[in-house]
Amino acid sequence: MGKANEGTIYDSLRKRGVSRRDFMKFCSLMAATLALPSGAGRIAEALEKAKKPSLVWLEFQDCAGNTESFLRASDPTVVQIVLDILSVDYHETIMAPAGKQAEKSLDDVVKNQKGKYLVVVEGSIPLKDGGVYCTVGGKAAIDTVKEVCGGALATIAIGACAWDGGIPAANPNPTGAVGVKDAVKGITLINLPGCPANVVNLTATVVHYLTFGSLPLTDSMGRPLFAYGTRIHDGCERRAHYDAGRFVRQWGDYGHQNGWCLYEMGCKGPETYKNCPAVRWNQGTSWPVEAGHGCIGCAAPRFWDTMSPFYRRLPKVPGFGVETTADDVGIGVAAATAAAVAAHGIIRAVKHKTEEEREEK
């Protein structure tokens, strides 16, 4: 990883044996992901000139799922391209050095390339009790984030945890976990939520920066619009079944075997914004809904708390057991009212004569 810094990105790709044709295919993929009409040429031009930005990848309270996603591109050419575009100088899971040597390579980047390197943060940052719940090399995550992100050109928060705390921040959040946006203020930050985030979107964000010199436009929650601007439901290949009222009702039933809509199985596609149906996963092989499982809304804010139960349309009723639905409670309320009314009517018929009725007798 480290040595290939010489020359431009395109140069180093050619040295690694990536053909011009594969390079242009990659540029087209990036242009399509970023929704740039006829942008492939411009991207190719930029990558022919651009030098690789130094990148450090910090992991805190995470499962390395975004790292897995990052390394899980099935086509070796694309892996090469991704690893070549990003000169990963520090990444705890995949780097060769260990211990003090590893920490030194992080320090080197932070000191020697101040204001010029990119940071990817994976995992949430615990703030409770002085941040003792996550330390790397004896240093609390919050201190590392402040130092490394503070001196960076830009920070990319990858995955749900780095965005809004993810599963460590789910109720009751024992470690006081937060995402990067709440841990450090005043840094250039872009968020790529998802559990995990898609490597195509990460690469496209960096390619956008290399091509235009700026980060892509974001929504009010700091997510790039090219990836989080459209609703899963609107791009879903099962959408026609939704409109037609053809729903999977049980795993493995006729509808499930025939690719019907997973709405009744609790699919959160109708409330989740991400480009999964378009870019898919593992080099466009498939994505959860195509594979027969509903969307769990992993790119939505605080999704562990807000999008669960994952197999139900609606959240559970607060204060009741997990199996109680809003319908149970609602029907209960209506039935109790009807029962009260009936009881009132009976009492009235038996013993309660009003003024009017007595007057008539």
Partner: protein
């Protein structure tokens, strides 16, 4: 007893009442289908557009309902004293007194029905709660519509809720409040029938024709 035939409910009040009645039934049925589809095709070859139609009808009924609420709010300022916005708030001493009387009557602690020419103070408060539930259903409904179809109009009518609450929480309460409205409807019909019998003032008929037969001992 001498009774005077009096015009209580003006046309806009009766009109919004009955259009709302129809709209709420349509909204309930289509809304329940959208929340939890209860019709299923018998085979894969069945051609239908069930969810599409249910949602279309839900939105149409929602707009009609919205217009009726707007008209009724306007009439709370433009209409007669029985339609006026003041009847929904127990501002006056008389209203608070009537509130106590009515509560005692409903709990069998008093034999005196809550004679009222228009709404009793008790009914006024109940309709205020109902109105709040209606507003919630409108705002939350347009918030959910904003997710489906972002537009400035939807943002104004409820889309702003999305910046305050999670979309699933909004969906949950949009669904649950439906049942609260049903519970209200059960009470509403029961009390209407009850008071019609207790006061013998043509209360049930008044929502069709607008006239009640009042005795003069009404508190208002």
């Amino acid at each position: 007893m001498e009774r005077k035939r009096t015009y209580i409910w003006e046309f806009p009040v009766r009109f919004t009442h009955w259009i709302n009645f129809l709209a709420i039934i349509l909204l309930s049925v289509t809304g329940l289908y959208i929340g939890s589809p209860f019709l299923h095709p018998r085979s894969g070859a069945d051609y239908s557009y069930t969810m599409g139609w249910m949602r279309f009808l839900h939105y149409i009924a929602a707009y009609v309902f919205l217009m009726m609420i707007a008209l009724r709010v306007y009439w709370a300022f433009a209409g007669n004293r029985y339609a006026n916005w003041r009847v929904f708030f127990p501002f006056t001493r008389q209203q608070r007194h009537d509130l106590g009387d009515a509560t005692r009557f409903y709990l069998f602690a008093s034999k005196k029905p809550p004679y009222a020419a228009g709404h009793t103070a008790c009914a006024g408060i109940a309709y205020l709660f109902l109105f709040v539930m209606f507003l919630w259903e409108i705002f939350s409904g347009f918030a959910l519509y904003q997710v489906n179809d972002p537009a400035f109009f939807h943002l104004i009518l409820g889309g702003w809720l999305l910046s305050l609450m999670n979309v699933q929480t909004i969906r949950f309460w949009h669904h649950l409040v439906l049942y609260f409205i049903w519970a209200f409807a059960i009470l509403h019909v029961y009390i209407a029938v009850y008071l019609d019998q207790a006061e013998k003032n043509g209360l049930l008929g008044s929502i069709f024709g607008g006239y009640k037969f009042i005795t003069g001992r009404e508190w208002e």
